[in-house]
């Protein structure tokens, strides 16, 4: 565990607000990104990230240092993602996309094409089973190695490789016909 993390943890255990704030600032992008890439929805990602931080702050005393603190944080957010009930959020991304187009500047053709491809990729990821999806997110959003993913998920590297392989095949099938339009 890094010294900075240790200090933050000790500060949080003492109930120091500044320590909580520093912890939040350190991990907010990481937690929110995983939640967003997993759920595909900003509002749901906010809920997941909020739940994760509340769990993180409330269970700080439970962290015993058996794994790295960042791995422990990953586990918390992954569990929140997997536990979170699928609500009616499938309708919401459409509204998000509409708002994104409305907010887009006039020269946004490039941006729209890019956004379109991002939407395709995100949509294809969303259709993956949750166990494959979380592996993809940890791999490509967080850049974790197979070994690190296995540690976070509590499974073997072989399982990670298998899930990732199946995810790649499914994603390849769903995205292959967009290959020619991905010049952006």
């Amino acid at each position: 565990m890094e010294g900075s993390d240790r200090e933050l943890i000790e500060g949080c255990r003492r109930g120091e607000r500044d320590a909580f704030r520093a912890l939040f600032e350190t991990y907010q992008d990481q937690i929110y990104s995983i939640a967003l890439r997993f759920s595909g929805n900003e509002a749901l990602a906010m809920d997941i990230a909020q739940d994760t931080f509340l769990k993180l702050f409330s269970s700080m005393a439970e962290f015993r240092g058996d794994s790295s603190f960042s791995t422990w944080v990953y586990r918390l957010v992954v569990n929140r993602c997997l536990d979170h009930k699928r609500r009616s959020w499938r309708l919401i991304p459409m509204a998000d996309k509409v708002m994104a187009v409305l907010r887009a500047p006039g020269d946004a053709l490039h941006g729209l094409l890019h956004s379109e491809m991002r939407g395709r990729v995100q949509g294809a990821v969303e259709k993956l089973p949750a166990d494959q999806r979380i592996v993809v997110v940890l791999r490509y959003t967080e850049g974790l190695t197979y070994e690190e993913i296995a540690e976070v998920l509590g499974c073997s590297m072989g399982t990670v490789a298998s899930r990732l392989n199946r995810a790649h095949k499914a994603l390849g099938r769903r995205l292959s016909h967009w290959k020619g339009s991905s010049h952006v």
Binding site: S33, Q50, F53, L54
Partner: protein, 164 residues
């Protein structure tokens, strides 16, 4: 897995910055919604001050005008005499305005009464009623036109009197 898919996944699933709303939810960031109302309130307060200042200034001017009119009226001695008797009205006007006011039955006007208005200079108004209300203005009592400058105008005001 193709390189293309690897690039797409690596490029499109990147980490993003958490929105400020997350910090607000958790109490680590000031809620911006309180900043906007403060700014809006300041603007609104400034607008109210400007409007109130303008209103107060106009109100002051209006009060000044009103007070001026009141002062003017206090200095104006107005007398009225109501009667359908032409002789009585002429007698009253003669006594008040100091000039002869001949009745004008030939114009079909019936006397209704007399009114004496004292503005800066003396003037008298003779009211008559016929098909419509008419006002006959006399020249200023102190002027050379007194006694022969009769003018009949519908509801003429004191300005016309002064313009004679």
């Amino acid at each position: 897995m193709s390189d293309w898919l690897e690039r797409q996944l690596a490029g499109e699933l990147t980490r993003v910055a958490a929105p400020n709303a997350l910090g607000i939810r958790l109490g680590f960031a000031p809620a911006k919604r309180w900043e906007c109302p403060r700014r809006a309130l300041a603007v609104a307060a400034a607008v109210v001050v400007i409007i109130a200042g303008g209103y107060a200034a106009s109100r002051t001017a209006a009060l000044d005008l009103g007070q001026g009119a009141a002062r003017h009226l206090r200095g104006t001695e107005t007398g009225e005499f109501a009667s359908a008797n032409a002789v009585a009205v002429a007698t009253w006007l003669r006594g008040e305005a100091g000039g002869d006011v001949p009745p004008r039955p030939d114009e079909g006007l019936r006397p209704a009464g007399g009114r004496l208005i004292r503005c800066d200079r003396e003037a008298a108004t003779f009211l008559q009623l016929n098909a419509r209300k008419a006002t006959i203005l006399l020249a200023h009592a102190a002027s050379d036109m007194r006694g022969h400058a009769l003018t009949a105008t519908p509801e003429a005001g004191c300005q016309l009197c002064h313009s004679l």
